[in-house]
C-alpha cells in the first residue's frame, strides 16, 4: 500500500502540474498538449476503431516475423547444437552477421519487397532470429547425453529424434530466447513503421506528429506504453506457465 501510494506521487504531481499550468497559461508550449486533451483524443481514436486497427496491423506483422524467426532459428539451432563441428565452422559467419543492426537492412528489404507486410516482417525476423538461434544452440548442447543415447538405442530417425527427444528436452531454455525475441519483435515492428512503412501504430504516431495532432500523438504514445507493458506481463506469465509443463523432464 505504501509502495502504491509513493509510486503514484510523481505521476499524479506531474500530470496535475501539466494540466494546471497549461490551463492557466503558464505553459504555452503547443507541443505539450495537456492531459485532458490527450484523454479526449485517445478516447476518440479508441472508439472509432482506428487505433485498434493500427494495433492489429502492427501486432500481426510482428508475430509473423517472430514466427519466421522461430522456425528458422530453432531448426538451424537444433542442427548446429547437435553437430558441434558444424557450429564451430559456421560460428564466425554467424558472429559477423549478428552485430549488423536489423534496421540497417531496411533499405535493402524495401528494394526487395516494396512497402507492406513483407518489408516489416522480414526485418522483424532478422532481428529476432539471433536470440532464438543462440539460445537454441546452447539449449540443445545442454541436453543430457543419456537422452540422446536413448534416441540412438531406439534407432529413431532424425526427425523423430528431433520431435520426441531434442525439442522437448530443450524447450524450457528455447522458451527464454523466444520471450526475448517477442519483446524485440514489437520494438522493431514499430521502428520500421516510424521510419518507413506506411501502416500500423508507428506510422500513425509519426503521422499525428506531422499533422500537429499533438493530443493524438501523446495518446498513441501512452497506448504504445500500455501495449509494451501488457506484452511484457504476458510474456513473463507465459514463460512461467510453459516452463512448468516441461519441468518433469
Amino acid at each position: 500500500m505504501r509502495r502504491l501510494l509513493l509510486g503514484a506521487i510523481i505521476p499524479v504531481l506531474l500530470l496535475g502540474a501539466w494540466e494546471i499550468s497549461s490551463r492557466t497559461g503558464l505553459l504555452t508550449l503547443e507541443s505539450l498538449s495537456r492531459p485532458s486533451d490527450i484523454l479526449v483524443a485517445g478516447y476518440a481514436a479508441l472508439t472509432d476503431g482506428s487505433l485498434l486497427l493500427a494495433t492489429v496491423q502492427t501486432c500481426e506483422t510482428a508475430l509473423l516475423g517472430l514466427m519466421m524467426a522461430a522456425v528458422f532459428g530453432i531448426v538451424l539451432g537444433a542442427v548446429l547444437g547437435l553437430l558441434p563441428t558444424a557450429e564451430r565452422i559456421a560460428g564466425p559467419t554467424i558472429e559477423a552477421l549478428r552485430p549488423i543492426p536489423a534496421i540497417a537492412f531496411m533499405p535493402l528489404a524495401l528494394m526487395v519487397f516494396g512497402f507492406g507486410v513483407g518489408l516489416e516482417a522480414s526485418i522483424v525476423a532478422y532481428a529476432c532470429v539471433w536470440p532464438i538461434l543462440i539460445v537454441t544452440i546452447a539449449a540443445v548442447r545442454a541436453i543430457e547425453g543419456r537422452l540422446l543415447e536413448v534416441a540412438a538405442v531406439l534407432e529413431l530417425p532424425v526427425w523423430k529424434k528431433m520431435v520426441k527427444i531434442v525439442l522437448p528436452a530443450a524447450f524450457a531454455r528455447i522458451n527464454v530466447g523466444l520471450r526475448v525475441a517477442a519483446a524485440i519483435s514489437l520494438v522493431v515492428a514499430v521502428t520500421v513503421e516510424i521510419v518507413l512503412n506506411p501502416r500500423g501504430l508507428g506510422y500513425r504516431l509519426i503521422l499525428a506528429e506531422q499533422a500537429l495532432e499533438i493530443g493524438l500523438m501523446w495518446a498513441q504514445l501512452v497506448w504504445l506504453c500500455l501495449l509494451g507493458y501488457v506484452l511484457n506481463l504476458l510474456l513473463s506469465r507465459v514463460g512461467r506457465g510453459s516452463a512448468a509443463i516441461w519441468r518433469p523432464l
Binding site: 505504501r2 509502495r3 509513493l6 509510486g7 503514484a8 506521487i9 510523481i10 505521476p11 507541443s31 563441428t85 564451430r88 565452422i89 559456421a90 560460428g91 564466425p92 559467419t93 559477423a96 552485430p99 549488423i100 543492426p101 534496421i103 540497417a104 537492412f105 531496411m106 533499405p107 535493402l108 524495401l110 528494394m111 526487395v112 519483446a183 514489437l186 520494438v187 514499430v190 521502428t191 516510424i194 521510419v195 518507413l196 508507428g202 504516431l205 509519426i206 499525428a208 506528429e209 499533438i214 500523438m217 501523446w218 504514445l221 504504445l224 506504453c225 501495449l227 509494451g228 507493458y229 506484452l231 511484457n232
Partner: protein, 255 residues
C-alpha cells in the same frame, strides 16, 4: 596457441569465403538480380573507392559521434538514477512504477515527440539515443548498487563514512562490474538508434548513406555502408571490452 594450425578455424574461414564465392558466381551468372545483390567484388571495389576518396569517412564519423554522445548521456543519467534507486528505498518506491511503465516503450516511438521539441537536429538524435540506451545501464546499476555485499556496507559504517563517501568509495566500485556490463548493451542500442534517427530525419551519417544509396538504386553503395556499420559495431564493442578489462583489472588480480 597450442597448435599453429587449427583445422576448424581454417574450415570456418573456408565456409565464410565459399558463401561469398557462391554469391559472386551467382551474381556473375546473373542468376540473382545485381540490383538487389551486387557481387561481393563490386561492393569491395566501391568500398575501396569511397574509402579512398573520403566519402565514407564523414558519415562514419557523424554516426560514431552521435552514438557516443547519446551513449554518454544515457550512461551518466543511468548511473546516477541507478545509484539513487539502488541505494534508497524511498527513491525506489517513488521512481520504480513510472520507470517500469515507460521502459517497454519502443525507443523509436519517442522520435515524433523529440522532433516536436528539438526539430530535425543532432540534439533530437542524441536525445532519442539517450532515451533508448539508458535502460540497460539503469537496470544494471540498480542491481549493482542494491547488491553491495553487506560486509562492505559494514566497513563503511565502521569507518564512519557519510552517504556520499559510501556511494563513491564503496558502492560504486562494488557495482562497477554490473554497470560496465550494462554499458556494453547500451552501446549496441545507441548504434541502432543512431541509424534509425538518421534514416527517419535525413541526418548525415551511415544510416542516411545506406538509405540514399537505396533511393538511387546504388546497391553496391548500400552494401558498402552495411559493411562499415558492421565494422563500427564490432569496433565499438571491442573498445568497451578493452575498457572493461582496464577498469576491472583489480578484480582479475584478486581472483
Amino acid at each position: 596457441m597450442r597448435r599453429l594450425f587449427d583445422p576448424i578455424a581454417l574450415a570456418s574461414l573456408v565456409f565464410a569465403f565459399s558463401l561469398l564465392l557462391a554469391w559472386q558466381l551467382f551474381a556473375d551468372a546473373h542468376l540473382i538480380s545485381p540490383i538487389f545483390f551486387p557481387s561481393p567484388l563490386h561492393t569491395l571495389a566501391v568500398l575501396e573507392h569511397r574509402l579512398a576518396d573520403g566519402s565514407l569517412w564523414l558519415p562514419l564519423a557523424a554516426t560514431s559521434l552521435r552514438m557516443t554522445f547519446g551513449w554518454l548521456l544515457a550512461s551518466v543519467i543511468g548511473i546516477v538514477l541507478g545509484a539513487a534507486i539502488g541505494s534508497s528505498r524511498v527513491a525506489r518506491d517513488l521512481l520504480d512504477p513510472i520507470l517500469e511503465f515507460i521502459r517497454p516503450l519502443p525507443a523509436s516511438a519517442v522520435i515524433p515527440v523529440a522532433i516536436l521539441f528539438l526539430g530535425l537536429s543532432n540534439a533530437m538524435s542524441v536525445a532519442v539515443i539517450a532515451f533508448g540506451a539508458i535502460w540497460p545501464v539503469l537496470l544494471a546499476s540498480v542491481h549493482g548498487f542494491s547488491s553491495v555485499p553487506p560486509e562492505l556496507a559494514n566497513v563503511s559504517q565502521v569507518l564512519g563514512f557519510g552517504r556520499a563517501d559510501y556511494l563513491r568509495k564503496i558502492a560504486f566500485p562494488s557495482a562497477l562490474p554490473d554497470i560496465v556490463a550494462g554499458l556494453r548493451v547500451s552501446l549496441a542500442i545507441a548504434l541502432i538508434l543512431a541509424v534509425v534517427t538518421e534514416m527517419q530525419s535525413s541526418l548525415p551519417g551511415l544510416g542516411w548513406d545506406i538509405f540514399s544509396a537505396q533511393r538511387l538504386y546504388r546497391s553496391a553503395d548500400l552494401y558498402a555502408g552495411l559493411v562499415m556499420l558492421a565494422l563500427l559495431g564490432f569496433g565499438a564493442n571491442h573498445m568497451i571490452m578493452l575498457l572493461e578489462s582496464r577498469v576491472l583489472r583489480w578484480r582479475n588480480v584478486r581472483t
